[in-house]
């Protein structure tokens, strides 16, 4: 696939406070590199992430959105990620159904101990989204105007 070297994707990563945000911190502590294109938004739990937020990010020009939470069974709030798992499965399936590249959306479970996994996940996701190029199908051009 032809990769546009100039293109720097905008990636929004929603991370739950207890596992994935801590995992992201650990990636930092371990100095594990991943592209600066990834910007993290801290939420208490993956179940706080409303499909609205994901659509909003795409609307405002994000090229990829990833949601990270505790591994199923390890949710700080016991069950939050189970609900997030269903919601995101259905939402992503719907986006795909509407013809929007499903590779732009992702859910990954990253524990507080998995700094390396966090960095690897972000590297891989950025690579995937970079290969897809700019998000044209979802973006609101009006919002992008400077």
């Amino acid at each position: 696939m032809q990769v546009n070297q100039e293109f720097k994707p905008k990636i929004v990563a929603f991370c739950c406070n207890w596992c994935s945000y801590a995992g992201a911190d650990l990636a930092g502590t371990n100095r594990s590199n991943y592209p600066a294109d990834v910007k993290i938004i801290r939420v208490p739990c993956s179940c706080r992430v409303n499909p609205l937020f994901i659509l909003r990010a795409f609307q405002r020009g994000a090229d990829g959105v990833i949601l990270c939470g505790c591994h199923p069974g390890d949710c700080h709030y016991t069950t939050g990620n189970y609900y997030a798992r269903r919601r995101m499965t259905l939402l992503f399936s719907m986006l795909d159904y509407l013809g929007i590249e499903k590779e732009r959306t992702r859910v990954e479970w990253v524990s507080a101990a998995e700094g390396a996994k966090f960095a690897a996940t972000m590297n891989e996701f950025v690579e995937t989204v970079t290969a897809l190029g700019e998000n044209k199908r979802l973006e609101d051009l009006r919002c992008k105007a400077k």
Partner: protein
């Protein structure tokens, strides 16, 4: 628009080396709402905090953004700072430009640009922050300790000493744990039982301590200060209050061929048994899977010999429900199962034993009554080979049960075993194969040196490749000596394997019940590896002993005391301030559909009929959701389940998160 101040921290060079902090402060200073922006080498220092406080007063700031390390590190610090200057502590946002920026990016312009975006997102959020006031919840002044080994015992004793009631839940019929099975303890070589059993007795006699032996935690609900725990007391078929521990039933019981767990199956016990002589409580148990009366309805011999009338074949398991302010996990460890290590012939030869089995052989109440004997023929071994790191520091999973971590205690106990052999039986030859000898700790390395220099133990750097049982009953140990670079064959009488230790299997389901996090090895995660080593990230849950990571007895006792002091600190409070970042429902928008209550893990949402008398459309009284703020933990599941958007989360409101999204995507 609110007046916002931005404070950019250098964190020495941690941030400043990769992020151009001056540019970040300057750029963010031009954001519409920002009236003051500055940078400083250490914002978390007293001088740094004073800069924030002074600026709040001088510029009448209404919101503060600190661009620094992770909020998991210093959010609490800076909240106190802004509160000290008269702002609501929740009018603060932290932009994480260290862990999530300077530490992971190398390119200065790129990292600087990202830091600015993260700062903008924090500004966008803080503009929508609302002052929050933490509610209060009472503290139940009682602690629960899960696990009755030395960790749990020490924690319970220390808590009780401070005057608070404490319950110990132990899944075995007696407290004491692994330490009861150990012969001598390093580095002093004093008798394990002699230092442990007085503490066990103290637990039994302390009127602040309740021991629930042969019991397990069934369910945990609630939150810090207000846990509710359901404890399952397994049926032991013996009335604990009546049994005097005389042992008559255990002697008369006709079923005798049950592997004795106390001796790791190296000897047998009866179906009616007391685990060992110093058991606490000193009460018999009937093994329900083997007792003839309980399985077939016949026998009943124990009942006839029990003069106290304590045998109760009809006993059922019971449940205790108790409230606690704090919970301590002290679930301990087990050696891994090494059946898969065929190269060491563990399953093939009786004379290949694990170190814990070796402890049983050395201990006076063990299967050989403390005499060093081969289990195959009862002869005293002349040549012993100790193999270290069996299953520890093992990368990959060639055996399926190896651990990547160092089990930490093996080097010292192996030195101890080697030393004890040589001391009691000077005619023995003792070899120890090691990858590294790791003996840091007070008087530890001296101890190891004594084994080598004073007791003449042969330490060989190298791994044992194969242990082959020979027809003459000896074991051919094939190994490589990495220092002299030669292959060795040692004709050994006994081989002792230092099996790795792993977290007890009960820890994982317990962690789920406690909503406490664990690492990939099933050890409980501490709230901070250095600064909060005995606290779990889940408030009110504390960690004691090996359940947090491999450690020896002195370390375990130290940590147990530390956990106790944290518990005491918590129980000493009459009230705790609650997390104010909780859900709330707008009754005007609420449909009363129960979607939120369906997903709430805490049962924090109830419904009431609310009168909207000013409405003209006939629907004056409607069912609406009400959040119990003391019970809500702020996960936000309800906010997404709510179709009408009536439910929102303080501190992480829909509007705030959307504003962050917008700022990042701009």
């Amino acid at each position: 628009m609110r007046r916002i101040g931005v404070f950019v921290c250098h964190c020495g060079t941690n941030i400043a080396a990769t992020v151009d902090v001056k540019t970040v402060a300057e750029t963010l200073g031009k954001e519409p709402a920002v009236v003051y922006a500055t940078d400083y080498p250490y914002m978390c220092s007293e001088a740094g905090q004073n800069i924030i406080k002074d600026a709040i007063k001088e510029y009448q700031l209404e919101g503060v953004v600190v661009c620094s390390c992770s909020p998991r590190m210093h959010e609490a610090t800076f909240r106190k700072t802004v509160a000290a200057a008269g702002l609501n502590p929740y009018m603060l946002e932290v932009a994480n430009i260290r862990e999530q920026c300077s530490w992971i990016h190398k390119d200065i312009p790129e990292a600087t640009a990202k830091a600015i975006v993260l700062g903008r997102a924090a500004i966008a959020k803080v503009l929508l922050n609302t002052p929050l006031i933490a509610g209060e919840s009472p503290v139940t002044k009682r602690a629960l300790v899960i696990g009755g080994g030395i960790a749990g015992i020490q924690t319970a004793l220390d808590i009780a000493e401070a005057g608070y009631p404490v319950d110990i839940v132990e899944k075995e019929p007696t407290i004491g744990g692994k330490m009861t099975q150990i012969d001598k303890t390093f580095p002093t070589l004093d008798c394990s039982s002699c230092i442990l059993t007085p503490k066990m007795v103290e637990c039994a006699q302390n009127d602040k301590i309740t021991i629930y032996s042969y019991s397990e935690v069934e369910a945990v609900t609630g939150f810090v200060g207000n846990f509710s725990v359901k404890i399952r007391r397994k049926a032991r078929f013996v009335d604990e209050d009546k049994c005097t521990g005389c042992g008559a039933c255990t002697e008369k019981c006709p079923v005798k061929n049950i592997p004795d767990a106390y001796n790791l199956g190296l000897s047998n016990r009866h179906a009616a048994y007391i685990p060992f002589a110093q058991a606490i409580p000193n009460v018999a148990v009937l093994d329900s899977t083997r007792c003839i009366k309980l399985t077939k309805g016949k026998c009943g011999l124990c009942s006839t010999v029990c003069s106290a009338g304590a045998i109760d074949y009809e006993q059922k398991e019971t449940f205790v429900e108790e409230k606690y302010g704090a919970i301590v996990a002290a679930t301990g460890y087990n050696p891994i199962n090494i059946d898969g290590y065929d190269e060491f012939a563990y399953s093939q030869s009786k004379d290949v034993v694990t170190s814990l089995e070796f402890e049983r052989i050395l201990k006076a109440d063990g299967p050989t009554e403390g005499h060093l004997q081969r289990l195959s023929d009862g002869k005293q071994p002349k040549t012993l080979v100790f193999v270290q790191c069996v299953g520890s520091r093992e990368s990959g999973s060639q055996h399926g049960c190896g651990k990547e971590y160092c089990s930490k205690i093996c080097c010292m106990y192996t030195a101890k075993h080697a030393m004890l052999c040589r001391e009691k039986y000077p005619d023995t030859d003792v070899y120890v194969f090691y990858i590294d000898v790791r003996t840091p700790g007070k008087n530890y390395d001296e101890f190891y040196r004594r084994a080598v220099e004073q007791y003449g133990v042969h330490y060989i750097k190298g791994m044992v490749g194969k242990v082959a049982p020979q027809s003459d009953g000896t074991l051919d140990v094939q190994a490589s000596d990495l220092i002299s670079n030669e292959q060795l064959h040692i004709k050994a009488d006994m081989v002792v394997l230092a099996a790795a230790i792993e977290a007890d299997k009960s820890a994982r389901p317990l962690a789920t019940m406690l909503t406490a996090s664990m690492d990939t090895n099933d050890f409980f995660t501490e709230a901070h590896a250095k600064l909060r080593p005995v606290e779990s990230p889940t408030a009110g849950v504390f960690l004691s002993g090996v359940c947090q990571g491999p450690k020896d007895i002195p370390e375990t006792v130290a940590q147990a005391g530390a956990a106790a002091s944290k518990v005491i600190g918590l129980l000493a409070k009459d009230k705790l301030s609650c997390n104010p970042c909780v859900s709330h429902s707008d009754p005007m928008k609420c449909n009363g559909c129960s979607s939120c209550a369906n997903v709430c893990p805490y049962g924090a949402i109830t419904y009431e009929e609310k009168d909207f008398s000013r409405r003209q459309d006939g629907s004056m009284i409607r069912r609406v959701a009400v959040v119990n703020e003391a019970v809500c933990q702020g996960c936000g599941a309800c906010t997404v389940a709510c179709p009408s958007g009536a439910m929102d989360l303080k501190g992480f409101a829909t509007g705030q998160i959307m504003a962050e999204v917008d700022a990042i995507c701009k």
